[in-house]
């Protein structure tokens, strides 16, 4: 079985986000980059599925060279090889077109992604890729098993879960508890250094949408403290001042 896992290279979940170059670029100073947390779940499950069913796991990142430490980490966790499409990930359509292009050349049985990237939070790349390849896509998926050429999985729906079955190939956007995050061990880190990481140039895609400028949310006003003796006052304040009741 051939599995492709698409990973993003994103600021750590605790990072404070600020901008540089007249608010047109992320200020990367002091920021630690990580594999997107949902992508990490996808990767962990891919490695487990490979252990159970045999096959290969390829990781793919559309991004610049600075993301290579995260790609190496994915190799250390258990992926067999990696592809980096050498481009700044601009909009979702661009990224999806790159992923679809790679997928068209390789016939993967499964394409696993995170439910969303934590930088752009679109939750759309899996759907775009699925449609570009003409195969179904499901997200967020929280359980996934493979039996022969059938995937058995559970996806979250509004207020519950749906258990489903579908023939491969498929695209999934993953979230916990599909697997536990894996931490690379020493052997993994050593072998990751020599695993193949292929760098390819992007295919041309029309500019669909351009991020012109970034802004930060307005600072929150002071928190109004209500003494615990006056708990009941909160109800009045929520009704008359905040007007949310």
């Amino acid at each position: 079985m051939k599995i492709l896992v698409c990973i993003t290279n994103v600021p750590d979940t605790t990072a404070k986000i600020t901008f540089a170059e007249s608010d047109t670029k992320l200020n990367k100073t002091g920021i630690q980059f990580i594999i997107g947390p949902y992508d990490d779940y996808a990767l962990a499950r891919a490695v487990e599925l490979k252990e159970q069913n045999g096959g290969t796991v390829t990781v793919l990142n559309v991004g610049e060279a600075e993301g290579e430490p995260q790609i190496r980490k994915a190799l250390a966790i258990g992926a067999d090889d990696a592809i980096r499409v050498n481009a700044e990930p601009t909009d979702s359509y661009f990224v999806a077109s790159q992923i679809a292009h790679i997928a068209q050349q390789n016939n993967y049985d499964l394409i696993l992604m995170g439910r969303e990237s934590i930088d752009f939070n679109s939750g759309v790349v899996h759907g775009l890729v699925g449609e570009m390849l003409g195969i179904p896509s499901f997200s967020p998926v929280m359980k996934l098993d493979i039996e022969g050429s059938t995937a058995k999985f559970a996806r979250e729906i509004d207020g519950g879960k749906e258990y489903m079955e579908a023939p491969l190939p498929l695209v999934f956007g993953c979230q916990e508890p599909i697997a536990d995050w894996k931490i690379p061990n020493m052997r993994g880190i050593m072998t990751a250094r020599t695993k193949p990481l292929q760098v390819v140039e992007p295919v041309a895609v029309d500019d669909m949408a351009i991020n012109e400028k970034y802004t930060q949310p307005a600072a929150k006003g002071e928190c109004k403290m209500i003494p615990v003796e006056d708990v009941e006052k909160l109800v009045t304040l929520l009704r008359t001042e905040a007007k949310v009741l």
């Binding site: 600021p11 979940t13 449609e131 509004d158 615990v228 109800v235």
Partner: protein
């Protein structure tokens, strides 16, 4: 020309988030001298669909094929693209939900359209088509210049206030061509929580953290939620510990919510939790530790024991009704 709005139906009526999408679509239609058409799929009463007019739509296309009753992003996107071509729509709007994002994405690939998810503003039409969207899990916004001819927008909850005109829309049947390839997956089982209110649609959420000490202590929180007509949520450790179901977990790795009122009970306010609630209009924090980071993100704070505060709040709400 028309603006096409994809809506979701729940229990026979148009979901709150979809009402917002219709309001948004109708406003874009007004700005561009167009009309707003709604696309509804699956089983729904004509009278419920005509309600789309109340939020500004003039027409509803209803594809009632029973195959479309089951949530299916592949088939839905196919129908949406066919409706967009029939109507000559260059702007397609929907609510940002799990289904909305998937349908938006797949329709975008079909129509060679750009798809912008998490939109928080109406478009600025001065010299182009620019919208603001939420990024970095609510920690920032991007102003996006959309260049493609067809634009698909998934609107973030609470980005626009629903307006009601009292009008009704005309409902027309819509007969799309469905492809077998869209129906290869089958549902083998469904687990629905018995909560009447879904978190993503709720206007008020009462949420509990590890400070609730254990699943057996949830009743006071549930009582407050009942009194407020609110949904219940929780922090990640709470669902990791199986105190509450996974789909209640709010934050960076869980569900993102944007209610009018979010009441956090015994939640410390870690940045990953805040990432899921920073779209809320008003935040109330109840925590016994005055140094809890959540107070910095709150509008109202009470330093106290949840087990004392919650029953008193519930009583106060009930008394004020």
């Amino acid at each position: 020309m028309s603006v096409l709005v994809f809506v979701e139906i729940d229990n026979g009526s148009i979901k709150k988030s979809s009402q917002e999408a219709i309001t948004y679509g109708a406003e874009v239609a007004r700005m561009t001298n167009a009309t707003a058409t709604v696309l509804a799929l699956g089983a729904a009463d004509e009278s419920a669909l005509a309600q789309a007019g109340n939020f500004g739509a003039t027409k509803v296309l209803h594809a009632s094929d029973s195959k479309l009753t089951q949530e299916n992003n592949m088939a839905y996107a196919d129908v949406l693209a066919q409706a967009a071509l029939q109507e000559g729509s260059s702007v397609i709007v929907m609510a940002k939900t799990g289904l909305g994002d998937a349908v938006a994405a797949r329709a975008a690939a079909k129509l060679k359209a750009s798809v912008i998810s998490g939109v928080t503003s109406l478009p600025d039409l001065n010299g182009g088509f620019k919208v603001t969207r939420s990024i970095y899990t609510g920690k920032a916004f991007a102003s996006v210049d959309i260049r493609s001819e067809i634009k698909i927008l998934a609107i973030r909850k609470n980005a626009i206030e629903v307006t009601e005109s009292g009008n009704t829309a005309t409902v027309e049947p819509f007969y799309p061509t469905l492809k077998d390839a869209s129906f290869t997956a089958k549902v083998t089982d469904v687990e629905k929580s018995n909560a009447e209110l879904s978190l993503s649609e709720a206007d008020i959420i009462v949420s509990g953290g590890r400070g609730m000490k254990g699943p057996e202590n949830w009743q006071p929180l549930i009582d407050l939620a009942k009194a407020l007509g609110a949904a219940t949520g929780c922090s990640k450790p709470v669902s990791d510990l199986d105190w509450r179901p996974h789909h209640e977990h709010i934050g960076q790795t869980g569900i993102k919510v944007a209610p009018n009122l979010y009441i956090a009970c015994g939640i410390s306010g870690a940045i990953q939790h805040l990432a899921g609630v920073n779209g809320s209009k008003c935040i109330v924090v109840i925590n016994k530790d005055p140094e809890a980071p959540f107070f910095k993100a709150a509008d109202y704070g009470i330093v106290g024991d949840v087990f004392e505060v919650l029953p008193r709040l519930t009583k106060a709400i009930e008394n004020s009704k």
